[in-house]
Symmetry: C2
Subunit: 328 residues, 2 copies
Amino acid sequence: MEVMEILKKYSESIDHEIEEALSTITPLNLYESSNHLIKAGGKKIRPALAVLTCEVVGGKAEYALKTAAAIELIHTFSLIHDDIMDKDDMRRGKSSVHVLWGEPMAILAGDTLFSKAFETVIRTRIDDSSYKRVIKALDTVVDSCIKICEGQACDMSFEGKFEVSEAEYMNMIYKKTAALIAAATKGGAIIGGGNPEEVAALEEYGKLIGLAFQIQDDYLDVVSDEESLGKPVGSDIVEGKMTLMVVKALEKASPEDKEKLISILKENNPDGVGEAIAIFEKYGSLQYTHKVALDNVRKAKELLDIFEDSEAKDALILLADYVLERQN
Amino acid sequence: MEVMEILKKYSESIDHEIEEALSTITPLNLYESSNHLIKAGGKKIRPALAVLTCEVVGGKAEYALKTAAAIELIHTFSLIHDDIMDKDDMRRGKSSVHVLWGEPMAILAGDTLFSKAFETVIRTRIDDSSYKRVIKALDTVVDSCIKICEGQACDMSFEGKFEVSEAEYMNMIYKKTAALIAAATKGGAIIGGGNPEEVAALEEYGKLIGLAFQIQDDYLDVVSDEESLGKPVGSDIVEGKMTLMVVKALEKASPEDKEKLISILKENNPDGVGEAIAIFEKYGSLQYTHKVALDNVRKAKELLDIFEDSEAKDALILLADYVLERQN
């Protein structure tokens, strides 16, 4: 089975859950603004992970559909609020929610999706003894929401600051990106009735592929091409964004190269991209970054060794590899 | 016992729960922005209602402390986001969160408090059989969050629109203000182990005093004095805000008076306040509004008849009356 087939297998049921959750929102402009990004698509890797981890521990796929839908709702909520904070006007090839409905309605649309996510998990019904499981899944989802906020605040605090250690950077991307993916895999495992060892392994699997996903994102920005990326190569450099390549280069570089790189990151000018990449190469930053992503994916797949062979296990292995194979 | 004594009785335990919930937030600026309005005070009527309704159905006060704290966290989250949307620069006598930390951090601080509210309810532990109760309390809290968003969107949609019916207005204030108060009283009753009849009565009690609270707010803006209000009399008129008095006056007024009132509401000028109030008086709007608030409080208190006499019941009666007695 290929990755796109895996994602497609569950997407209809997940879309149905999301549609049902959002169907009752009034008034019309809140309904439309809340639905805008959902309808714009997205690969829905996160919800698929929740369903697959539920299956890999022996649960039925349908047990995890509401948790899966909730994870996608939280992802969408965070995109809407992030786009306001970062003043990003485009998302999934469409205008951002705040561009179309204004910031007040975009704040509300995010808040509404956030509430709907919790409502959706709460409505999970497996049997009369499943309340404890649902509470644990909720706890997992909520914990990731707190981390998303903390990660975004960390990321904002890095702006214009160039003394960020690798550990600080990894903690930021863990909270901002990997925590929700780990909540999908942990939440799915809990709802599926996994034992503590299984739940811990799948949480760690989600965390590792989540980290690899973000690191690969940083890496592709420099090594991919404009057509695949859908934006110019080196956009992160022009925006002065902190990435693992920047962190590593600043750690290793000579005082002159360090000063040069910082001045390129500060000046928001595409002309500096080539020189920045040359500095990354000089200090092995690109190689290092690629290796960290590879190692994380390898470790993630090793964690699946405790599970018996199944279609869900194969799918989780393929999804881990996909993190590195994708070109955008 | 007086109202301030009732509120004081539980405030220390509630403050402790909130403080504990927020203690782990990092980085520092997210911690400080999330705590700013909490530390600025507030009467904490909502959390007191959660504890008292828990007690009135026979539960221990401590069962409801986490739900109570969550209700206050949600109230605070909604104030932070509302202040951004409404561009209000002051709150509880201090600068708003977005004025001090900027809009991006204020959005995040609200999102963080929202997440923390759910985390807090989830951590309620009464005994091994209480998971179902906790899920039901969570459902109640989440449902009120969705209503708060919908109510705020409705309120925003009323701006500049003067064809709002009484039913539409009441639905808006129910969602925007009363739903969270009803969640406090219903949530407390659920956590306290109330039977379905008791839970329904206390939810309705909360809804009715919540509506009375908002209607009285509208009424005081016109009949109180600047010193008690802490702002000039008729501020709502100057801001062109929809209130029950406006809805009723526009319903009853002659075409000339209707046109006059609409033009005053549109012009944002304090000079029109006297004339607007004269129109309210001419069509019995003030009297009508006061009567609706009184009726709601009376009905709310009648709903408490099903409970045996207790200190908690007396306190709930006093709090219902307090809605009308307060001067600001």
